[in-house]
C-alpha cells in the first residue's frame, strides 16, 4: 500500500481474521505476522512530508526506514533520535515496538521523540495522538505492537549532529562484576553505550565483556582533511551471506572460538577512536542476510530487563545460559534509563541482556521458560519484538499494566480487528 486511502480501503474490505500493519518485518518473532489475516505492507508509504530544520523536526510516512532517514538527514546534520542495531526498520515499526538503542540511558525510547502520530483505527477514522493529545492512545500505540491500528504518519524530533563520526572509548572487562561496576560508575558520561558479553565463558571468566561507548564528534575533533565535509555519510552493504550454511555450524565449539578471538582482539582500554555511524551502530547491517549463518533451523532472540538491585537474577540468568550448552554468541548487555508510560513499552530502568540462540536441542524451550520465570520473579520482563515462544501467563506477570493496555485497545478496537500471531499466542 502507498497511501492512507489504500490502508483505509483494505481495512474496510478485511476478512474475519483481521488486519495487521507490517514494516520491514525485522521483529525476531511473530509480531509482524498474522496467519489467515490481511497484512499491510507499509514500506510503500515512505515519503518525507515536512522538514523543520530550525526545530530539528521532520514529518514522515510510517513506512520510511531509518536507513533512508539517515541517508537523507545525516548530511543535513540530523540523526535519528534512537536507532536499534539495524537501520532496516520503519518509523511505524520503531513506534509500535517502542525501540531502544545504545542511548536509552540518556534519550529513552524512539516514541519519546515522537511529537504526534496519525493512527488509522478500526472504525476507519484517523486520529492524531501524541503525548498531549489523547495521551492514553498514544502511549498504548507506542510499544503496542500494531494492535491499536495502523500508524500512518509521525512527527519526529531528530538529534542535531556536527559530524557523521563518533568518538568511541573501548574497555575490556574480565568478568560481569567489573562490567556492572564500570557501567554504574561512568555510563552517564556517554551518549551511547553497549557491552558485548561472552555467554559461553564459564567460571571466573563468566560475563567477560567488551564495552564500547561514545558520542558524536564535534566538527573540530575530526582530522583536518575531513573537516571540510564533516557530515559525509555512506552505508553500503559490502558482502552478503550465501544461502549454504549447514545446520549446526554455530555450535558451542565454534562460538567459543569466535568469542575468544573477539575478546582477545579488543583493546583493554582505548580512548577517542573515531568510528563511522554504520561501524558503531549497525555492524551486522554490513553483511547482507547475516541470519543465514544460523542454517535452515534459524535462531531465537531472547532479551530481558531486570531492575537495578536484581543483579543476582542477571547473574543467575548468565550462569544458566553459559552452563546450558547452548551456543549464544554476541550477547549484548546495556544499562537502561527510566521507562515511559507505555503499558507494553519494554525498557524500564535496569539491566538488559539480549541473546541470539541457535534453534537446536530439545532443552532450549525449557531453558527459556525457566529464564522467563526467573525474570518475572525479579520484576523484570522480556521484549515482545524479540519474543517468539513465551506463554501468556508469565507475560501478564511481566507487564502488570497489561489490563490498562487492553482497556485502551478495547476502546478503539472493540472487535479486535487489529491482531497478530503474537497477540493470539500471548492473549494480548
Amino acid at each position: 500500500m502507498r497511501s492512507a486511502d489504500d490502508a483505509a480501503a483494505l481495512l474496510a474490505a478485511r476478512s474475519s481474521r483481521g488486519v495487521l500493519a507490517r514494516g520491514l518485518a525485522r521483529s525476531y518473532g511473530d509480531a509482524a505476522q498474522s496467519a489467515g489475516a490481511d497484512v499491510l505492507d507499509m514500506t510503500g508509504a515512505d515519503r518525507v512530508l515536512a522538514v523543520d530544520l530550525a526545530r530539528s523536526e521532520i514529518e514522515v510516512e510510517a513506512g520510511i526506514s531509518l536507513d533512508r532517514l539517515m541517508s537523507l538527514f545525516v548530511p543535513l546534520g540530523l540523526f535519528v533520535p534512537v536507532t536499534p542495531g539495524t537501520r532496516y526498520v520503519t518509523v511505524g515499526g520503531a513506534i509500535a515496538a517502542d525501540i531502544h538503542g545504545k542511548n536509552h540511558h540518556r534519550a529513552g525510547t524512539f516514541s519519546e521523540h515522537v511529537r504526534w502520530l496519525d493512527l488509522l483505527v478500526a472504525d476507519g477514522t484517523v486520529r492524531r495522538v501524541g503525548p498531549r493529545q489523547d495521551a492514553d492512545l498514544f502511549w498504548t500505540t507506542a510499544g503496542g505492537m500494531g494492535l491499536t491500528g495502523v500508524i500512518l504518519r509521525a512527527r519526529i524530533a531528530m538529534t542535531p549532529i556536527e559530524s557523521a563520526r563518533l568518538v568511541v572509548d573501548t574497555d575490556r572487562t574480565p568478568d560481569l562484576d567489573a562490567l556492572l561496576t564500570l557501567l554504574a560508575e561512568t555510563d552517564d558520561e556517554y551518549d551511547y553505550s553497549v557491552a558485548w558479553v561472552d555467554c559461553v565463558a564459564t567460571g571466573r571468566r563468566m560475563g567477560r565483556s567488551v564495552l564500547t561507548r561514545g558520542r558524536f564528534a564535534r566538527r573540530k575533533e575530526l582530522p583536518a582533511r575531513r573537516q571540510a565535509d564533516p557530515l559525509r555519510y555512506s552505508a553500503a552493504v559490502r558482502v552478503s551471506a550465501p544461502d549454504v550454511f549447514p545446520r549446526g555450524l554455530l555450535n558451542r565449539a565454534t562460538v567459543a572460538a569466535f568469542n575468544e578471538v573477539w575478546y582477545r582482539k579488543a583493546p583493554v582500554r582505548r580512548r577517542d577512536e573515531l568510528q563511522t555511524v554504520p561501524a558503531f551502530f549497525h555492524p551486522l547491517d554490513g553483511v547482507g542476510s547475516w541470519n543465514r549463518i544460523y542454517g535452515p533451523r534459524g535462531f531465537v532472540q531472547y532479551q530481558f530487563v531486570v531492575p537495578f538491585g536484581q543483579e543476582e537474577a542477571l547473574r543467575k540468568a548468565l550462569v544458566r545460559i553459559s552452563s546450558s550448552g547452548t551456543a549464544s554468541f554476541l550477547a549484548v548487555l546495556k544499562r537502561f534509563g527510566q521507562g515511559n508510560p507505555g503499558p507494553l513499552s519494554f525498557p524500564t530502568s535496569g539491566w538488559t541482556l539480549a541473546l541470539d540462540i541457535p534453534v537446536g536441542g530439545a532443552a532450549l524451550a525449557g531453558l527459556l521458560d525457566g529464564l522467563d520465570e526467573l525474570v518475572a520473579g525479579a520484576d523484570g520482563r522480556i521484549y515482545l519484538a524479540k519474543d517468539s515462544r513465551a506463554h501468556p501467563e508469565v507475560l501478564a506477570r511481566m507487564y502488570p499494566e497489561l489490563d490498562r493496555f487492553r482497556a485502551v485497545r478495547h476502546r478503539v478496537d472493540p472487535e479486535g480487528v487489529f491482531t497478530s500471531d503474537l497477540a493470539r499466542r500471548l492473549s494480548l
Binding site: 481474521r17 496467519a35 489467515g36 515462544r389 499466542r425
Partner: protein, 251 residues
C-alpha cells in the same frame, strides 16, 4: 500457533480416547502446558482421560464426536475451534473389526468403511477448511502400514486405511502454500486397546513410541512417517514382493 521452538498452544484429538491420541497429549504436556480438545463419544473413559490430562497441566475441553454419526464431524470441528485456533489436530479414531466376520458380513464391511474411511475424509475436509481460514495448522492422520499392501488376513481394514491414507496424502499436497500441512503416520502393529488379545508380531510398537514419532514429525515438518522407522523399508520391500510369495507370507 506452533511457536519458534516447535511448542504447540492447542491440540485437538479426534478419537480422543484412543491410546495413541492420549499418549500424544501426554507427550506434548510433558513439554509444556497446552489447550487440549478431546473429541470423542461421551463415555466414562472420555471423562477419565480428561481428568488425567488436566492433572498433567492441560486446559482440557471435551467435544462430542461419533465417527458413525453423519452430521457429527461438521459440528465437532465447529465446537472444537470455537475456543480458538487449533495448532495440531490428530485424527486417531478407527476400528480394527473382526476379520473373520468382515469376510462375509457386508453390513459389517460397510460399517467399518464408514468409520475408518468415510468419517476420516469428512473430518479431514472440515479440519482443512477451518485451518485454511486460520492460515496455519497441522493435521496428523493415523494411517497404518496395513494400508500399504492389504493382506488376506485383514484386507477390509487394510483397504479402509489405504483409502484414508490416500485421502490425507492428497489433502496434504492440495494444502501446499496455505500454511496448513498434513502428517500421515503409518504405524506397524501397535500394542494397544485396539489390538488387545492379538498375538504379537515382529517390529510391533507402542502408543508411546507412535506419540514420540508424531511429536518429532510435526516439529520437523515431515509429511509421512513410519513407526518404527524401519517399517518404511520393510513395507517398501513387501510392496514389491511378487504376489505369489506375498500371499504365502506367514502373517
Amino acid at each position: 500457533m506452533i511457536d519458534a521452538l516447535g511448542s504447540i498452544g492447542s491440540l485437538l484429538l479426534v478419537g480422543g480416547t484412543s491410546d495413541i491420541a492420549v499418549a500424544t497429549a501426554r507427550r506434548y504436556l510433558a513439554e509444556r502446558s497446552a489447550r487440549i480438545v478431546l473429541a470423542a463419544r461421551d463415555t466414562p473413559r472420555r471423562a477419565a482421560v480428561a481428568d488425567e490430562l488436566r492433572a498433567l497441566g492441560g486446559q482440557v475441553e471435551v467435544v462430542d464426536f461419533d465417527a458413525d454419526g453423519p452430521a457429527s464431524p461438521t459440528r465437532m470441528v465447529a465446537d472444537a475451534t470455537a475456543g480458538g485456533d487449533i495448532d495440531v489436530a490428530v485424527v486417531a479414531f478407527g476400528q480394527l473389526g473382526d476379520a473373520e466376520r468382515l469376510r462375509t458380513d457386508a453390513a459389517a464391511v460397510a460399517g467399518l468403511a464408514r468409520v475408518n474411511y468415510v468419517a476420516p475424509t469428512v473430518v479431514g475436509t472440515e479440519l482443512a477448511n477451518r485451518m485454511r481460514a486460520q492460515g496455519h495448522g497441522v493435521i496428523v492422520a493415523l494411517s497404518s502400514v496395513a494400508g500399504e499392501r492389504p493382506r488376506a488376513s485383514n484386507y477390509v481394514y487394510g483397504s479402509t486405511k489405504a483409502g484414508m491414507d490416500a485421502f490425507y496424502s492428497g489433502l496434504g499436497d492440495s494444502l501446499a502454500g496455505t500454511g496448513v500441512s498434513v502428517l500421515v503416520v503409518r504405524p506397524g502393529f501397535v500394542r494397544s486397546k485396539m489390538t488387545a488379545g492379538l498375538p504379537d508380531v515382529p517390529l510391533s510398537t507402542t502408543p508411546e513410541a507412535v506419540a514420540e514419532a508424531i511429536v518429532a514429525g510435526v516439529r520437523s515438518g515431515r509429511h509421512t512417517i513410519w513407526v518404527p522407522g524401519a517399517m518404511r523399508w520393510v513395507m517398501s520391500g513387501l510392496r514389491h514382493t511378487p504376489r505369489a510369495i506375498f500371499r504365502r507370507l506367514p502373517f
